[in-house]
């Protein structure tokens, strides 16, 4: 190995360490006894106590299940709606430029400004402290963004394909279901993954709209950081577990998003 190559490899190893160290330290902190959390030794003692108390004492299992239900539920509700809306925007000049702008504009409002009105409406409807309520609010909040993503994908599909299907004897609806949707699969996958991540990580609405039995993972993590002093060992365990589903969906990201999810160029 030449000297230049050696130097280059050393630099790469150093960079990897910088990136990987915090993640390693997170795991390490979660897997030592809580009283050794701040111990300077690399791995003084192995212990699953943090995980056990997190589930037994803090009911983290409940939070975890809540997060999964809310994130999955909202994405399953929002994606079909986003697909139909995005397709309408992409193909039929629905609403023109103004409607497209309106979709983007909704993304610009400060979420804090939406939180209070939502809380007041939910109180009237009895939807506070319910998973249904969170599913609905996440679906609604993410709908414009997912619509925008899918619109981009549908615009990338040549109109020829649908015209071929229609002259082949398909109805508009069949052309959409049998030709457009399958071709847009990477886009649908991207939308599902992004919608899931956004809902999984959301904190503000979850804090305001959930109650003790419906708190999601971010709310539970925040509670750990403030309730009893900072229980750093449990926080580390909770964060480690919160990342697991993101690692799972990241496989889809690698497959679909890295290629498909680039912003359009200059027209």
């Amino acid at each position: 190995m030449s000297r230049a190559s050696l130097l280059r490899h050393a630099a790469l190893v150093a960079i990897c360490l910088v990136v990987a160290l915090p993640i390693f330290w997170l795991l390490r902190t979660s897997l030592v006894p809580p009283e050794l959390s701040y111990d300077p030794r690399i791995w003084p003692e192995f212990s699953t106590e943090n995980y056990r108390t997190l589930f037994a004492g803090n009911g983290f299992g409940r939070n975890y299940l809540n997060s999964i239900i809310v994130a999955l539920g909202s994405v399953l509700l929002a994606t079909p709606l986003a697909a139909l809306t995005g397709y309408a925007f992409a193909r039929f000049r629905t609403g023109g430029k103004a409607a497209r702008f309106a979709v983007l504009a909704t993304q610009m409002l400060p979420p804090v400004a939406l939180a209070l009105p939502t809380f007041m409406i939910y109180r009237e409807l009895g939807l506070t402290n319910s998973l249904t309520g969170l599913v609905i609010v996440y679906a609604v909040v993410n709908l414009p963004f997912l619509t925008w993503i899918l619109m981009g994908f549908f615009e990338g599909i040549p109109a020829d394909l649908e015209e071929a299907a229609i002259t082949d004897g398909a109805t508009n609806w069949q052309a959409f279901l049998l030709v457009v949707l399958p071709v847009a699969r990477p886009g649908i996958a991207a939308a599902v993954v992004l919608g899931f991540i956004l809902a999984w990580n959301e904190f503000l609405f979850a804090l305001i709209l959930s109650g003790p039995s419906t708190a999601t993972v971010p709310v539970a993590l925040a509670a750990l950081q403030t309730s009893n002093g900072v229980e750093i060992g449990k926080v580390a365990a909770g964060v480690a577990l919160a990342i697991v589903p993101l690692m799972v969906v990241s496989r889809f990201i690698q497959k679909y998003l890295v290629r498909g999810l680039s912003f359009g160029g200059v027209s």
Binding site: D160, L161, E163, A164, T167, G169
Partner: protein
């Protein structure tokens, strides 16, 4: 019976912009009709109106005697071959070809049989289970054809289907499309901007410009008797040479030559006397050798394009740029003075203002 009749068909985009205006056209049952014109002339729009993919804003369209002006595309029993092929990328070749039959409720067994037969005819048997992305350009083109043929539609509509192929493949597919048409005998409309494709494939050609139909007729008929300068120049390469001219006392006068007309020509061009005229001479009507009815012109050779099989000479004759297509053995040096011989029987005459042609007598009859 699947003739196509268009009466006063227009496509109005609003704000006074028309894709096609007042098109009257009859395409006969079983005919191979080529729409030819430069880009933006309305040829694709016309095809798309026949397909039902573009609205007809006025006029009427009938296919096989039935009014189809506002019929949905799926109820017209037509098949379209797109320039981009528009293959369904997520389906195998088999499913691509079978999609139309599936939509029309053809049973699985018959579908399979017809797919296999079409694939066999087009040499696609080996590729039936591949996705379109795994095929070459020529193979995709064949799949698009197979998808259209297998449905046995009344009418084939093809929108520049060869323009994405390389030159060699394009020449092959030209022959193959003609052969397939001869076999199935279905009415076919073929859109192209390439005069060679139109000349060689069409039973008749329809030349469009700016949304208007200029001329319809058999290829050689149109080539020999173009109705105006646009058609005359568009149909040949290099384009027909065009010169200001006058006709007086049975004699044509131009910058490059003056010559007497034959008796039949004098008679035919009676209406052209004492008007500003444009003389049209095709490049192949100049010859290296003198001959009966030929008049000599002399000029300086500016460029010679030696193509191997023939030579194209570009001359400056009295300030006029003239292109001539001559035998490959005639190979003068650039800059040389060259004498060529113009076949006066083969000339075309146009009104200089309206650019429309005066009907000309058959050059062969003049030589006889």
């Amino acid at each position: 019976m699947a003739d196509i009749v268009m009466k006063g068909v227009s496509r109005d985009y609003g704000h006074g912009i028309y894709g096609v205006r007042d098109a009257d056209l009859e395409i006969r049952d079983g005919e191979f009709m080529c729409f030819l014109g430069p880009s933006g002339c309305g040829k694709s729009t016309t095809l798309r109106m026949i397909a039902g993919l573009e609205d007809i804003t006025s006029g009427s369209l009938s296919i096989g005697g039935r009014d189809m002006t506002h019929t949905r595309p799926r109820d017209r029993n037509i098949a379209v071959v797109f320039q981009t092929y528009a293959l369904y990328p997520h389906m195998s070749v088999r499913d691509n070809i079978g999609f139309g039959m599936k939509m029309r409720g053809v049973g699985r067994r018959e579908r399979d049989a017809r797919i296999v037969a079409a694939a066999d005819k087009l040499g696609l048997t080996k590729y039936l289970d591949r996705k379109p992305a795994a095929l070459s350009g020529g193979q995709r083109q064949r799949v698009a054809l197979g998808r259209a043929m297998v449905r046995e539609p009344d009418v084939f509509l093809m929108d520049e289907p060869l323009s994405n192929l390389d030159a060699t493949l394009r020449a092959e597919m030209r022959l193959e499309l003609v052969r397939l048409h001869r076999e199935h005998g279905k009415t076919t409309v073929f859109v192209t901007h390439d005069q060679v494709e139109a000349m060689t494939m069409g039973d008749r050609i329809c030349i469009l410009r700016d949304g208007h139909i200029m001329q319809v007729g058999r290829p050689l008929e149109v080539y020999d008797n173009p109705v105006n300068i646009f058609v005359a120049r568009f149909l040949s390469s290099p384009p027909m040479n065009i010169l200001p001219a006058t006709l007086a006392e049975g004699r044509i006068n131009t910058e490059i030559a003056s010559f007497d007309l034959a008796a039949a020509q004098k008679q035919a061009y009676a209406a052209a006397r004492n008007r500003p005229l444009t003389l049209g001479v095709r490049a192949e009507d100049f010859y290296a050798e003198p001959g009966i009815g030929r008049v000599a012109v002399r000029g300086r050779l500016q460029v010679i394009e030696a193509l191997g099989a023939e030579n194209i000479l570009f001359l400056d004759i009295e300030g006029q740029q003239i292109a001539a297509r001559v035998d490959r053995r005639f190979l003068p040096e650039t800059g040389a003075d060259v004498v060529l011989h113009l076949d006066t029987a083969a000339i075309h005459l146009f009104d200089a203002e309206t650019e429309t042609a005066f009907a000309r007598p058959d050059p062969e009859s003049l030589r006889a």
